[in-house]
Structures are given as C-alpha cells and as structure tokens.
C-alpha cells in the first residue's frame, strides 16, 4: 500500500489558484492551510483577506472569511477578535495594504497588542493593479510608476515594516521569512505556526512578513525571482526573528496563575 506523503490540506478548497506561475501567494496560502489543519482550528478560524491579488482568498481557504476594504484588515480583525475572543483571527495583507493605505490600522492594531495574527506578503510591488511602486519597492527598482527606478529623493525609501513594528510594545512575536526555496518555505511555515500558537495561547499580536516573488511584475522568470529575493531583496529586508516575547508572556501568564 502506498503511503500518502503529500496531499491537499483540508483547509484549502478544491479550487485552482488564479495566481500567476511562480507567485508566492499560492505557497503562503498552502502553508497557512497546513498550519490550520495541524493546529486543528479550521472551525474556529476567521480570515480577513485584503484588496489586492489575494482578494479572492476566500475561494481558496476553507475557513470563514470577510473581505476588508483596502488596508482595513487589522481594524476588522481587531473587532472580530474582540467580539469573539476564542476564535483565531488572521488578516492577510500585501505591502501596499499594510505599509501604505493601511499603515494606521496595522500600526495601531499592533500597538494595542490585539491578539491577532497578520500575514504580511511583501513583494515590493502593487501586484493586482499592474505593478506600480509599493512602499516596499527597492531603490532603483523599476515599476510602472517608477519607470526609471525608485528614486530616493522623489519617491522615498523602502518601508521596513518588521524593523518598525518590532519597536512597538504591543507586539509579541514578529518574524521575517521568505518563500523562495523549500528550506525557507519550511521556516516560514514554522513561523506561521508559532504565530498562530501565540494567538491561541492568548499571548498577543504576531506578524509574519513573507518576502514573496512576483515574477509577472518584476518581469523575471520564476527562478530568477527566487534568486532576486536572495541576492537583492533580502539584503534590504533581512530575514529573522525581530521580536519574540512568547516565553516572557508565558511566564507572566503562569505567574499570574
């Protein structure tokens, strides 16, 4: 008898991803679904997808979902979590969503220490609208609105969300990961699982930033996109754990008992 070593997670619907070949969203979706399965939280999870390429996430995740207007995911997620404190609530946001139009909602949800998880897909570009400059676009990176490359004098600098958010006292766990290789995908999955567990344990706000390839708008092959993350993007956005107060939160909880 053959042994099953790889199958579709239960929390992922039987729909075909609309994402472009080589896009990181599909990978991120799959590993989130695997984590939901492994933690056995499908029935109590509520997801908040964004405006952007992942706006149709409810076609893929087999959990309850409510679509947020652009950038407002953390406001909605905060409210859902406070209304239903025993549910697991995550928002899924892109770089434009989190670091531009929704920076206030994201920043303040983090600062309030909302017991939610933000999955932050950083691909340096507005994907769904056709490749415009994002807050995380690299200096000199060409986009449709920076045709000569991002100019620091005219366009400012890439926004380092993990570095900034890790300064907030409300944040319990924050890690930057990548989905450009099997090893990194495994690391990302572990980080997501840790973030969800942090929420389940009631330890507060977690954010996982994922450096994610966008071959279509980067105008690169899928393989070169993965290389570009290693060679260029991760130099500006170094992966790693920026904050981990889980042990301290656990100790505080035990002391309180």
């Amino acid at each position: 008898m053959a042994k099953t070593v790889y199958k579709r997670p239960k929390s992922l619907k039987e729909n075909i991803f609309h994402y472009c070949p080589g896009c990181g969203h599909s990978i991120a979706h799959r590993i989130i679904a695997e984590v939901i399965d492994e933690l056995d939280i499908r029935g109590i999870t509520i997801g908040v997808p964004p405006a952007g390429c992942a706006v149709l996430a409810y076609n893929y995740f087999d959990v309850d979902m409510i679509e947020a207007p652009h950038g407002r995911g953390p406001a909605m997620a905060s409210a859902i979590k406070r209304s239903l404190p025993d549910r697991v609530v995550f928002s899924y946001q892109g770089d434009g969503d989190l670091a531009a139009i929704g920076i206030a909602e994201s920043f303040h949800a983090a600062n309030r220490g909302e017991n939610i998880t933000i999955i932050f897909i950083n691909n340096c570009v507005y994907g769904m609208t056709g490749g415009q400059m994002a807050p995380t676009t690299m200096l000199d990176q060409k986009t449709t609105t920076t045709p000569l490359g991002r100019n620091k004098t005219l366009d400012g600098y890439p926004v380092k969300v993990s570095e900034i958010f890790s300064q907030l006292k409300g944040v319990t766990y924050l890690e930057r990961c990548m989905v450009n290789s099997p090893v990194n995908i495994n690391k990302t999955k572990k980080a997501i699982k840790k973030a969800f567990q942090c929420q389940i344990d009631g330890f507060g706000f977690s954010l996982i930033e994922i450096l994610s390839p966008c071959p279509t708008n980067w105008k690169m092959s899928a393989v070169n996109s993965c290389k570009w993350i290693d060679e260029v993007m991760s130099k500006e956005f170094p992966p790693g754990v920026f904050k981990d107060e889980i042990a301290a939160a656990r100790k505080a909880a035990e002391d309180a008992r």
């Binding site: 499908r42 999870t45 405006a51 409510i66 947020a68 207007p69 909605m76 206030a104």
Partner: protein, 352 residues
C-alpha cells in the same frame, strides 16, 4: 418608568446599550465627544461589551463592520467631517449587507466648517454618501425622547433589512438636556446564518463586496434595489403638527422642526395658521404622505439649517401639486423661534 434628565449624546449611548449594542468604536470629534465618552464608561461594564477608541474614523467604521459580521449589535458615531471619512465603510457595509448604526451629530460645513449645529449633510446621508448604488436608512430625531426611541428603532431596522442605519442629528440635539423615559427595547431578531463566527464542523462562509463578474454584480445591485423598494414603502415616518386648519405648512426636520414648532406657537392668534410636516425618516422620505397633504393645503415653506437640500425631496413630492418656498440658515447659524416666526409671517403675507 422613571424619567431621567440627560443630554442628547448620552441619551443615544444609553439607548444603544439598552437596545443590546455590544460594540462601539469611535474617534474624537466635536460636538459628539460625550457619546464616545459615555460608551467608554458604560459599554465595557455590560457583559460582552466592547469599546474601542479607533485610530481614525475609517478604522472605526471598519471595526464596526467586523464586529457586525461577528454577530454583535454595533454602533459608531462622529460629526460631519468624520462622517465623510466613514463613507468607504458605509458603502462596504451596504454592499455586504451588514447591519450597524452610524450616528452623525452634524456641525457646520463644508470642510472643517465649525462646531455649531447644522443640517448640511442631508444630501450625503440620504443619497448614500459613499460610492455605488446603495441607500442608508436615515432617522432624524426631533427631541431627546425621540433620540432614545429612534436609537432603539435604528437597531431593529438595521437587523431587519441588514443595512446600515444613520441617526442624523446635530450639535443642538447632542448637547441639549431633556427629561427622557427609556422604553423597553424589543428582543433582537437576527439569524445566526448571517454571522461569521467560524465554520465549526460545517461549511465555511465568506462575506464580500467584490463581485468581479458584472452579471453577478448587476444582480446584487438589483437585489439591493428590491430591498430598498420595500423599505421605501414600509418605513417612511413623519409627524403632523397643527395641520387641521393650516393654510401653510412648514416642512422641517430635527432641530429645524423644533424651532419651527416654536415659531408656529408664537404665530397662534395672529390670524396666521401654520402647520408642520416633520419627516422622521429622511430616507425613505415620506414622499407620498406629503403629497397626500397637498390635496388639502397648497402652500409650503421648507425650512432647513442649510442652503436647501431636503428641498429637493419636497420638490419631488410636491412639484406641480403645491407652491413651495424655502428659508435656510446654513453654516452653523441657528435662528430663534421668534426670528423664524417673523420670516414665516413675512412670507405668508407677501405671497398669499
């Protein structure tokens, strides 16, 4: 039941909590801060009650959208410039058919305007306000007691039609103290199937406003339109005052109607018989009820604390049926009843 003396903003807060409101989000803006402060002090002491001071009006409206989806009775409040910011979320709630209460304690506009009572947001409130083909039910209380009663009604209507409901008052209504009796709210009728609380062992649900297929989107728009048509027929509310032997009728709502009542009282015994038609729902506007009145009375004066916005709805109701005049005080100016009585008397004598 006990009478209590309370200012309007507190009345709305207390009535909301009694009606089962369990989630409030808001951002400071004058002249409605007392309502936010009341909710901060009182909603958290009710079991399951959540108060969130949001980082912006935009966040507040999206917070109540989230809590509404989660199944709670929800409310946010603001004043004119803040309501403009909330429009994104109001449109979104209408699209997603999420019930919720938005209180607008209007102030002078446009722009930052001032913090005096005004009625310049009528168009914004009754025409949807945000983008897209939608309507918000708009209730315009005319007294402290009505603030209490209509706040409770607002929650019932929001649930019944799964639609945002706006309570449109102004700084005068918000600040004025009056004796109030809080009535017993009706029990909530709202199906769990509309709530997003996790799939359990069942099928997962989603709530969305994005419909990429134009045929689906068109049908969704028609579905909403059918709902609005039902509301238009079933929900118009209005008050008639002193109309029995009236030769001219003032059409006014909220604070303006209250001033008009004062003016009408002052004109009694002067040979000028004036009545009042006070729309209580601004959307749906009680159009047919006003037109019925035109079979008897042919002279109308619209009075608003604006340059003339409800005037459009009165024209839609009465044009060709009766004569319509207008008097307005925009930008935060509030006339006294005596001043308005003079205006009414002049118009009455000059034209009729």
């Amino acid at each position: 039941m006990n009478k209590v003396l309370m200012s309007g903003n507190y009345v709305i807060g207390e009535a909301a909590i009694r009606a089962g409101c369990r989630f409030y989000a808001g951002y400071p803006i004058t002249p409605q801060n007392e309502l936010t402060e009341y909710m901060a002090e009182h909603i958290r002491s009710v079991e399951g009650g959540v108060f969130l001071q949001s980082e912006s009006e935009i966040a507040a409206i999206n917070m109540i959208a989230g809590a509404s989806a989660a199944g709670l009775r929800v409310m946010t409040s603001s004043s004119s410039p803040g309501i403009s910011l909330k429009q994104e979320g109001i449109s979104s709630m209408a699209a997603c058919e999420l019930p919720g209460i938005i209180v607008n304690i209007m102030r002078g506009g446009p722009g930052l305007g001032n913090i005096r009572p005004s009625q310049g947001d009528y168009f914004q409130a009754t025409r949807g306000g945000g983008h897209g083909d939608y309507r918000t039910i708009v209730l315009a209380p005319g007294s402290g007691q009505e603030l209490a009663d209509l706040t409770m009604t607002a929650f019932d209507l929001a649930d019944k039609y799964r639609n945002p409901v706006m309570i449109l008052a102004d700084g005068m209504m918000g600040q004025m103290m009056e004796p109030i009796v809080f009535k017993k709210p009706k029990p909530r009728v709202y199906s769990k199937k509309f709530m997003l609380q996790g799939a359990g062992n069942g099928k997962s649900k989603f709530i969305r406003g994005l419909l990429l297929d134009p045929i689906d989107s068109e049908e969704h728009n028609w579905k909403l339109a059918r709902k609005y048509a039902v509301i238009s027929i079933s929900e118009p509310r209005y008050e008639l005052y002193n109309i029995d032997d009236a030769e001219m009728i003032i059409v006014a709502y909220g604070t303006a109607a209250r001033i008009a009542k004062g003016a009408i009282k002052r004109l009694r015994g002067s040979g000028i018989n004036i009545g009042l038609f006070r729309p209580i729902t601004l959307w749906p506007f009680p159009e047919l009820q006003l037109r019925e009145l035109a079979a008897k009375v042919k002279k109308y004066l619209v009075f608003e604390m604006s340059t003339g916005q409800m005037l459009d709805d009165v024209r839609l109701a009465l044009q060709g049926y009766a004569d319509i005049k207008f008097h307005g005080r925009p930008g935060g100016a509030v006339p006294t009843p005596a001043e308005l009585a003079n205006v009414i008397a002049k118009i009455y004598k000059r034209n009729y």
